[in-house]
């Protein structure tokens, strides 16, 4: 009970700091902390498979890729034309609409969830085993699983092609 609120607090605060940082390296490191807290929440939800995948794939692979690109580009600081000290809601142009939209989204989601009434607590199920997930993945979800491999192949080829330096002819 108390651990849910602790990890939820860590996840929200770390995510807020991610978008408050001006230096992308700190953003990436804080996002790894947020993913760690989310992984703990998955453990609380009896989903150990997702928790481990979250750490290995997200924190281990994707975030290291981000960190690698941030260090490769070596352009840490955001270049902004507006005054840094102005509150984001008071800045000109689309930024104000964007921040307003985010606030509206929070209010609406809160309202919608509040109207839903008392959603029941969790049924007394057991931990979803990795074996059950694997069986379902290779029987019911076999076709999407194979399509995923093509998606990964396309992404790999695309990434290599896009990031390649163009040869002068």
């Amino acid at each position: 009970m108390i651990s849910f609120y602790m990890f939820a607090f860590i996840a929200v605060v770390a995510s807020l700091l991610v978008i408050a940082q001006r230096n992308p390296i700190y953003s990436v490191l804080l996002l790894i902390a947020s993913f760690g807290a989310l992984s703990a929440l998955y453990v609380l939800l009896d989903a150990p498979f997702v928790a481990v995948i979250q750490i290995i794939v997200y924190a281990g692979a994707i975030m290291v890729l981000f960190l690698f690109v941030v260090m490769l580009l070596n352009a840490p600081h955001e270049d902004t034309e507006y005054d840094e000290r102005v509150h984001p809601l008071l800045r000109p142009g689309p930024m104000r609409f964007g921040a307003g939209l985010a606030v509206a989204l929070v209010v609406e989601l809160w309202w919608a969830l509040g109207r839903g009434g008392e959603s029941g607590s969790f049924a007394g199920g057991s931990v979803t085993s990795v074996a059950a997930i694997g069986r379902s993945l290779f029987t019911d979800y076999a076709f999407p699983f194979e399509v995923t491999s093509i998606l990964i192949l396309v992404a790999m080829v695309g990434a290599v092609l896009l990031a390649r330096r163009e040869e002068p002819r």
Partner: protein, 100 residues
């Protein structure tokens, strides 16, 4: 046990933080990070509903979402690298050649 609605509220808050990040930040890498926050919020919803309904399908969809997120990060970062080579900038305001 914490009720399901608390997980949904946490997920909504994380999604809104990600949305705000996409609009407020002026750095392509931070914008991609905000998209990752939004994807994670959706993943949390899937796992919480899967747990509430007692089925493994939620976790399988999370597996696919993570695969798509990995592909998106790889291609997105490659695009950012090749954009940076052209303009020496990560500010989306400096890529307006196609803007009407």
């Amino acid at each position: 046990m914490v009720p399901l609605s608390h997980y949904l509220l946490l997920s909504a808050m994380l999604f809104s933080i990600g949305t705000a990040g996409v609009f407020v930040r002026r750095n392509l890498i931070t914008i991609l990070l905000s998209i990752e926050i939004m994807l994670n919020a959706v993943n949390l919803t899937f796992v919480a509903f899967g747990r509430a309904l007692g089925s493994a399908d939620g976790q399988i969809i999370v597996f696919f979402v993570m695969t798509v997120a990995a592909a998106e990060a790889a291609v997105g970062l490659a695009i950012i690298i090749s954009l940076f080579r052209h303009r020496e900038s990560l500010n989306p305001e400096s890529f307006t050649a196609l803007k009407w």
